[in-house]
């Protein structure tokens, strides 16, 4: 018969801790988890892993903190009736500690209305959102591999001497390392017992000591990565470089293929390739190509691969990336060091560190092994802020007062006054999102610290602070935005028809919006067919610059409690459709029922009619150096074009030119629109069709209808 502490080790150890300290309790929970979590090792197992067939009802996860899985809890009560009482006691004790609930409970009614936790007039309307997520980060796996847990303990010893009186923190970190050692010892015993000599040999050394070859390095990375809770592998080719030469191409491919199955099974986040150093030298090794090759081979939607490029990226790397994109998996996303690194340096990040950036989660920018960049702190829908401006602070769909009073339609004498009102709304809503985000961040720091990551992210041991409490070297924040182009197009139309030509009054425009353009055919035709962002039209692009400069610039004046600056980005994931539905009619011709909002920094889907060079020219004019959290730019190519060498070369030249002009990022979907339409009708036939959503790749048939339509509407680059 199982004991309660065997089936729920985390909760038991957490509650029974001798010391009443969240970090210490969580460390004890981790150590006890390592003792009892079932391991997957049989005679022919390639890499040892964690067996998750019988999940815990209570545990700790890097992004969510402490929480309970209600379903698992119910199942366990049925499975172990003799433990029912004890399980219920655990539930009573752990439930109040659920970090996500704590965050949600901390929101005011107004905040709940802003983030759609409370429906407005029965509708799902979202204006902004603030930090109910504990943050992605990239642990420094290179340090882990080089030092082993023995070396990490030496760091703790030094930190303890430097920060006297902080013993509980360092004890916690040490206990978290015990967890890794226990895992290693158990894996060694289990491997020996079942006759898996290769794994036994590996675990006789790791994780206490440095691995000796590529296989052992992969194994050490995998077991720690898995135990830590599956986040982003980060700069994989870079941190594996020490070991690249210890194996042949075939041996490395064998390991990568195994890892790939693991990444797919666990929905692993971002894996980053390449990158330049601060002297401009481009880093690449055979693994860069091999990862791209494995991605082509399996065509999985995960991990989310990023390729960093610079002026010195070899042509072969570009070609390999284009070949992988041609498979249609939407990866790799390509980031431009020449734009990202200087942007990070403006935040005060040292050049040596700015050049060590990689991606987190979808594609937010992070410093490898040295930061907590607040991923994800919050979002602000700019298009919704414009809706509030047009209705003097009220929601155009529900009539609910969400913003602040910035004036009636009649009160604006000029476009400048109208734009100033819009800016006030944006600032107010941004402040709301930041307040929510700060509440969340403080709750995570206090109730859900992470002693394991504090070991693996530089700065925590040195400062004696947890990774969620300002410990890392860099502690910036991140607010993403939605609907940039919709806002720009709407402002351009209002400027032209209301203030420049005077064809309509602002009141007429608002009346038309409120009636969803019914009975306003001429006004609708004028507004919806007016010049759109993404077509290389200077007067519209200038408005975009003003919108971005204002929003990102405003964020840069705000500080995180963890000791950093807020940065902005545009990476809308699957949420563009959610915000779109709650935004209502807009002066760019968007109707109430339309889910469509710009899903990247580019044009509103379908509004870029002058081809990709015009689109990228428009986007490159944006002050992209202000977008320190990732500025996703979506392009959609047809399969026919991309399978030709000419099409791939055309893409590479397009990307290089965009980057030369200051562009930060490109995400590419290679699809056929007919196939997408057919997949909407016959999802069962297109289960494997992958598309690029805002920040990541996903199976098309899994997406909501609104999002599917959004992707179909993206202008396709054909020829």
């Amino acid at each position: 018969m199982k004991k309660i502490y065997e089936t729920e080790p985390f909760a038991c150890a957490y509650l029974n801790s001798e010391i009443d300290d969240a970090e210490y309790r969580i460390a004890c929970g981790m150590r006890e988890t390592a003792r009892f979590i079932p391991l997957e090792i049989e005679k022919n197992t390639f890499f040892a892993g964690i067996d998750r067939t019988e999940p815990f009802a209570f545990y700790y996860k890097f992004g969510r903190g402490i929480f309970e899985e209600s379903e698992v809890f119910e199942q366990k009560i049925k499975k172990f009736p003799y433990l029912a009482e004890e399980l219920k006691e655990l539930y009573e004790a752990i439930h109040p500690l659920n970090t996500v609930n704590m965050v949600n409970d901390s929101f005011t009614e107004h905040e709940k209305k802003l983030c759609a936790q409370i429906p407005l007039d029965g509708k799902d309307i979202k204006t902004c959102w603030g930090g109910t997520w504990g943050g992605h980060s990239n642990p420094d796996y290179r340090m882990l591999l080089r030092l082993g847990t023995n070396g990490l303990r030496e760091r703790i010893a030094v930190g303890r001497k430097m920060n006297c009186g902080n013993d509980i923190f360092y004890d916690s970190l040490s206990i978290a390392l015990d967890a890794l050692d226990i895992l290693g010892e158990r894996a060694f015993e289990q491997a020996k017992k079942c006759g898996n000599e290769r794994l036994a040999r590996a675990f006789s050394v790791i994780p206490k000591n440095s691995p000796r070859d590529f296989f052992e390095a992969c194994q050490m990375f995998k077991i720690v990565f898995e135990f830590d809770g599956i986040d982003s592998p980060g700069r994989f080719d870079y941190f594996m470089d020490d070991y690249c030469k210890t194996a042949s191409h075939d041996e490395r491919m064998e390991c990568l293929r195994e890892l790939w199955q693991f990444f797919k099974a666990t929905r692993t986040w971002n894996l980053c390739l390449g990158g330049s150093d601060e002297k401009g030298n481009y880093f690449t090794n055979p693994l860069t190509y091999e990862v791209l090759e494995v991605a082509r081979e399996y065509k999985y939607d995960t991990p989310n691969i990023t390729l960093r490029v610079s002026n010195n990226t070899p042509e072969d790397v570009w070609k390999s990336a284009a070949q992988t994109l041609a498979t249609g998996i939407g990866m790799p996303a390509i980031y431009n060091d020449e734009c990202v690194c200087p942007a990070l340096e403006e935040l005060g990040i040292k050049p040596v560190d700015s050049h060590n950036y990689c991606m987190n989660g979808c594609n937010q920018i992070d410093i490898f092994g040295k930061s907590h960049m607040g991923l994800e702190d919050g979002e602000v829908c700019l298009a919704k802020c414009l809706d509030l401006t047009l209705h003097n602070g009220k929601c155009g769909l529900s009539g609910e007062m969400l913003g602040i009073e910035t004036g009636d339609a009649e009160s604006f004498e000029s476009y400048e006054e109208f734009f100033a009102a819009y800016k006030k709304q944006v600032e107010y809503i941004t402040d709301c999102a930041l307040k929510m985000s700060e509440k969340a961040q403080r709750i995570y720091a206090e109730f859900a610290p992470n002693p394991l990551r504090s070991n693996l992210i530089i700065g925590c041991v040195e400062s004696g602070l947890d990774y969620k409490n300002g410990g890392p070297v860099y502690n910036h924040g991140q607010i993403l935005t939605e609907g940039i182009a919709d806002t720009v197009d709407s402002l351009a139309a209002v400027k032209h028809f209301v203030y420049d030509t005077g064809k309509y009054t602002l009141r007429q425009v608002i009346d038309a919006l409120d009636r969803n353009f019914v009975g306003y055919d001429e006004l609708f035709s004028d507004l919806s067919r007016y010049k759109k962002f993404g077509n290389d039209i200077p007067e519209v692009d200038e408005i975009c610059t003003a919108v971005i400069e204002h929003f990102y610039g405003y964020l840069h004046t705000k500080r995180t409690f963890r000791g950093g600056i807020y940065g902005g980005g545009c990476s809308t994931f699957g949420r563009a459709a959610h915000y779109g539905g709650g935004t209502g009619a807009l002066p760019n011709g968007k109707k109430k029922e339309s889910d469509l909002l710009a899903d990247s920094i580019g044009a509103v889907p379908g509004c870029d009619t002058n081809g990709p060079t015009a689109l990228l020219n428009s986007v490159a004019k944006e002050p992209q150096h202000l977008a320190v959290s990732g500025n996703v730019m979506q392009l959609k190519f047809t399969k026919d074009l991309f399978k030709q060498e000419k099409g791939q070369a055309g893409f590479i030249a397009l990307a290089k030119t965009y980057f030369k002009k200051g562009g930060q990022q490109l995400s590419v979907s290679v699809v056929s629109t007919d196939e997408l339409r057919d997949a909407q009708i016959h999802p069962e036939l297109h289960g494997d069709l992958i598309v690029r959503v805002g920040g990541y790749s996903d199976y098309f048939v899994r997406l909501s209808k609104g999002l599917q339509n959004n992707i179909i509407a993206r202008t396709e680059i054909a020829l």
Binding site: D521, F524, R529, G611, A614, K646, G650, A653, I717
Partner: protein, 284 residues
């Protein structure tokens, strides 16, 4: 509108950016309106007439009647398809195809993508219609591009006096020279004109020291029997086969014209690849 070409303005129907198939690299293709061939498979039917014309998209029409208020000839046989009614249509059902452009305005548009040409070794391609029917404008535009170091290509069907070629040659880096077929009768039947000038000009062009890529549209059931003859004619030059497609059907509908080769077979990639293998001078 004065459609007469006075050298400094030209009738165009499109300026297509990010062209990858009309010469090397990323290019901007300038499409001239007006052609002296009328190929039955023409994939740019709106390029044939030199004047502005109406494209009507019936599926967008809500029958509001605004066009009838504007012009009593709308929807009648008297309609000259001048396209002016497009200015009153709120629904995009009536669109005007073709406009007059100055050399400077076209050049400015070309310059918008100059960075892309630089990175990709691309440039500008003049196409149509038949650009060489507006030779003065073409010369000026090419000259200007040439002065600014922009690679230039001219796509032509070649049915113009050879002195036009001589005039533009100094500023043209590449000719994309279309040959539909060698058989003269067939040429008259499919394009409405003889190919004798076209072939003579091609011979002369081959002897000049300029870069020429011959291109042949392959329309199964129509001219595909002529690949042999065209390849032989091209000789030691280079030939590219252009597989027929019918993506232009909607344009024929909008022009309310019949598309004679609509039902022709669309050659698949394998067919073209196999065909290409049989000829040393085919570059596909």
């Amino acid at each position: 509108m004065n459609m007469k070409n006075d050298g400094n303005t030209a009738s165009l129907f499109n300026i297509q950016r990010y062209s990858l198939h009309d010469g090397p690299g990323i290019r901007t293709t300038v499409f001239f309106k007006g052609c002296n061939l009328h190929c039955i498979w023409c994939h740019n039917p709106e390029s044939q007439k030199s004047t502005t014309e109406l494209m009507f998209y019936g599926n967008r029409c809500v029958k509001c009647g605004k066009c009838l208020d504007y012009c009593e000839k709308a929807f009648t046989e008297k309609c000259t398809r001048c396209g002016r009614c497009s200015s009153v249509c709120l629904y995009g059902a009536r669109e005007k195809c073709g406009d007059m452009y100055t050399v400077d305005s076209v050049f400015a548009k070309i310059c918008d993508d100059i960075d892309y040409y630089e990175v990709s070794d691309g440039g500008v391609t003049l196409s149509g219609g038949e650009p060489l029917l507006q030779a003065d404008f073409v010369t000026e535009l090419l000259k200007k591009c040439n002065e600014h170091g922009i690679h230039t290509a001219v796509e032509t069907a070649g049915n113009v006096p050879f002195d036009v070629f001589e005039k533009i040659m100094p500023y043209t880096n590449l000719f994309l020279y279309d040959i539909k077929c060698i058989d003269e009768k067939m040429h008259i039947r499919f394009t409405g004109v003889s190919n004798s000038i076209i072939l003579k000009n091609a011979e002369k062009l081959k002897k000049c020291r300029c870069d020429v890529l011959f291109r042949m549209p392959v329309i199964p059931g129509f001219n595909d029997g002529q690949v042999d003859a065209v390849s032989e004619f091209v000789g030691c030059g280079k030939l590219e086969l252009m597989p027929y497609h019918n993506m232009c059907s909607a344009k024929y509908v909008a022009l309310e014209r019949k598309f004679e080769t609509e039902k022709a077979k669309i050659p698949d990639e394998e067919y073209i690849k196999e065909l290409a293998k049989s000829y040393a001078n085919v570059i596909n």
